[in-house]
């Protein structure tokens, strides 16, 4: 049994302009201890997928389908059942550490709350434990630092606190939504390294939501590429980076500016813009930007699967150029 299995997940939002189809028929799973990356541009549905799983959708949002966590469907649970799992078995790290920490509360209060609730530790035990976690994420002088407020921390330190909080209850699954996007490169490198280390130590499965293919390459085993609310390709990092099958993945890889390649090799942009989620086109959603689009693309392409477990949603065989 997979740790988390998403089956035919749909997420819609009712808005004044009509229904926004944020996620359409999404299927994937993650095993214990694995690291899966969900890659896509803004509006591709990567964040809303995980928000649906955590039951954190906005009020006008509606999720259909199944999200089986250790066999139990998270989408069918009531709040009490969910609260037994959220924070304890599934933790989430959000993108912007300043807005996810409460500016009025000391770091101590925010960190100990979770363990006191889930593990029944008393205040002193919880405090010592929180100090240990801060030390693990390399916050210098944690005994003093834990008494401070979020604004006294730098951006990188706040995100390290978020990582520490996510790992407090040693969850089975850690969902990290763009954990390093708001950070500088040197800090980003530190946080990615930290998460990889902690993953090995505590055998936590990680779902990393990001648009940065560079971060994915160093941290994850498997990659799911999303476009306009659909999964377009899924495979191991090697498959995605070395033999991308879907024209969108190929385009995405070419449009990343790289430091490790010499000369003036230009970056190739994907022309056009993603379609509006209010009025999605019939057939392949990438059709209008695809260099290899042909007549068949007006029909919805099937998800193809090869023997190595590499899946892609396209009519083409996807031989990488």
């Amino acid at each position: 049994m997979s740790l988390l299995e998403i089956k035919e997940l749909y997420v819609d939002f009712k808005t004044a302009e009509g229904k926004v189809h944020a996620v359409t028929n999404l299927n994937f799973s993650i095993e214990a201890g694995d690291a899966l990356a969900i890659v896509g541009e803004s509006g591709s549905g990567k964040t809303q997928t995980m928000m649906a799983v955590m039951n954190l959708l906005a009020e006008n949002g509606e999720a259909r389908g199944k999200a089986l966590f250790k066999g139990a469907d998270l989408l069918q649970m009531n709040v009490a059942e969910l609260n037994k799992r959220r924070g304890k078995e599934i933790a989430m790290i959000f993108q912007d550490p300043m807005t996810s920490l409460n500016p009025y509360l000391r770091i101590e209060k925010q960190m100990t709350e979770v363990v006191m609730h889930h593990q029944g530790l008393n205040r002193t035990e919880a405090r010592n434990y929180a100090i240990e976690m801060l030390r693990a994420v390399r916050i210098a002088d944690p005994e003093r630092r834990i008494r401070q407020y979020p604004h006294e921390y730098s951006g990188g330190m706040r995100q390290r606190v978020m990582v520490a909080m996510g790992l407090l209850c040693q969850p089975d699954l850690l969902i990290a939504d763009e954990p390093t996007t708001a950070l500088d490169v040197t800090v980003q490198a530190q946080i990615s390294q930290l998460m990889s280390e902690l993953r090995v130590q505590s055998n936590t499965a990680i779902i990393l939501i990001t648009h940065d293919l560079g971060v994915v390459a160093g941290m994850c085993d498997r990659v799911l590429v999303m476009y306009a609310g659909e999964a377009v390709e899924c495979g191991s990092v090697e498959q995605i980076f070395y033999q991308p099958k879907h024209p969108y993945t190929q385009g995405l890889l070419k449009s990343v500016p790289r430091l490790d390649q010499p000369g003036n090799a230009g970056i190739e942009a994907i022309p056009g813009n993603p379609p509006s989620l209010l009025s999605l086109p019939e057939g392949c959603r990438f059709r209008e930007r695809c260099p290899q689009a042909h007549d068949a693309c007006s029909q919805t392409p099937p998800m193809q699967l090869d023997e190595q477990g590499h899946a892609w949603r396209c009519f083409l065989e996807g031989d990488s150029p």
Binding site: G214, V216, L259
Partner: protein
């Protein structure tokens, strides 16, 4: 009544290699009050602290650094939007700090800026036509409507927007398209210098590539001097001729693009390059860590000596005592490091 003459737009200037911009020892300090009432004390935040560089016509200078290094303050100081506390900005040999507001305003016809957040930089209540035309009305108040319309449509075509969308509002466009509008607005007066302050960091990768390529093309076509500010080294690599690396308000290194990514002169540059994520699983796993320890010091309490010495893996005693001057190396690149001659920071070599 002195009516402004109905000037024609200058035809694109001839391709020259003249020096257009010279920044000398520029410093911008902000006063910050900390504490309450009786405990209050005024601290000085040294946002830009002695930056010098030169820029030729038709050249692109990339400025890289982490948040808080003073890149955006520098951008504003170059355009005279902030008065520097020390140093000079020479535009075509003329000191911008000595000009009165009205003369400075006229100079800005030649100097434009593109901002980071494209949607926030555009007035939501103005149509695209009005947004792009505003600089024209400001500098040529008596310009004919037909001419404005023609110019606006021409600009939209040039930046890859449909001229038929001229009556739309910013919210009807995507982030990438908004940035194209911002670029059209910056270029509508045929400026000689465009300062781009993180123009692509708010955009998705595939769109980011479109905008970088667009800026690169326009820069060549119009022979613009471009200052391209970013925190992402790899983006800067694709557009710049030379790159300046900043840290805590100081320039650490100014080198040609060819040199800086192969053999940086400053340890901080090397750390930045090593920290940049590589989109290749095998290389990414093989990559060692950056060698940087700790966090960036607060710009309110700058360390003595070299500002980077608290995190530098190659630190020696001298670094803690003496501020390294920005000096010219044999190959013509600039570096502010005491040990630049002794260190071999070639990328791919381990730090021993």
């Amino acid at each position: 009544m002195a009516l402004l003459p109905r000037r024609r737009f200058p035809v694109n200037s001839k391709v020259t290699k003249d020096r257009v911009l010279r920044v000398q020892d520029l410093a911008v300090h902000f006063k910050v009050r900390e504490g309450l009432l009786f405990n209050a004390k005024t601290l000085v935040l040294r946002a830009v602290n002695g930056v010098s560089f030169e820029l030729n016509a038709g050249e692109t200078l990339g400025i890289v650094g982490e948040s808080g290094c003073g890149k955006s303050t520098l951008a504003r100081a170059i355009l005279g939007l902030i008065k520097p506390d020390r140093g000079r900005v020479l535009w075509l040999g003329e000191d911008l700090g000595k000009l009165d507001d009205e003369t400075l305003r006229k100079k800005r016809e030649d100097m434009q800026i593109v901002f980071q957040d494209p949607l926030a930089a555009l007035n939501p209540r103005m149509t695209v036509r009005d947004i792009i035309a505003e600089p024209l009305w400001t500098f040529y108040p008596r310009i004919a409507r037909v001419q404005v319309d023609e110019r606006v449509r021409g600009m939209m075509k040039m930046v890859g927007l449909l001229p038929s969308h001229v009556n739309r509002y910013p919210h009807e466009f995507s982030g990438g398209q908004c940035q194209r509008i911002g670029i059209a607005r910056a270029l509508v007066l045929n400026p000689k210098l465009v300062v781009c302050d993180e123009p692509v960091s708010a955009l998705d990768v595939s769109i980011q590539a479109q905008i970088v390529n667009l800026l690169k093309d326009l820069q060549k076509k119009l022979n613009l001097a471009l200052v391209f500010i970013a925190h992402d080294l790899s983006v800067v690599k694709h557009i710049s001729d030379r790159v300046m690396v900043m840290y805590l308000g100081r320039s650490m290194e100014i080198s040609t693009k060819e040199a800086i990514y192969r053999r940086p002169l400053h340890p901080y540059t090397k750390a930045l390059i090593k920290a940049a994520p590589v989109p290749d699983p095998r290389l990414a796993r093989a990559a060692s860590d950056t060698g940087l320890t700790g966090d960036m010091p607060s710009p309110l309490e700058l360390p003595d000596g070299c500002v980077f010495h608290t995190r530098c893996p190659y630190v020696v005693k001298r670094c803690e005592l003496e501020v390294p001057a920005l000096r010219r190396m044999e190959n013509g690149d600039w570096v502010a490091c005491h040990c630049a001659e002794e260190l071999d920071l070639t990328i791919g070599k381990s730090p021993t």
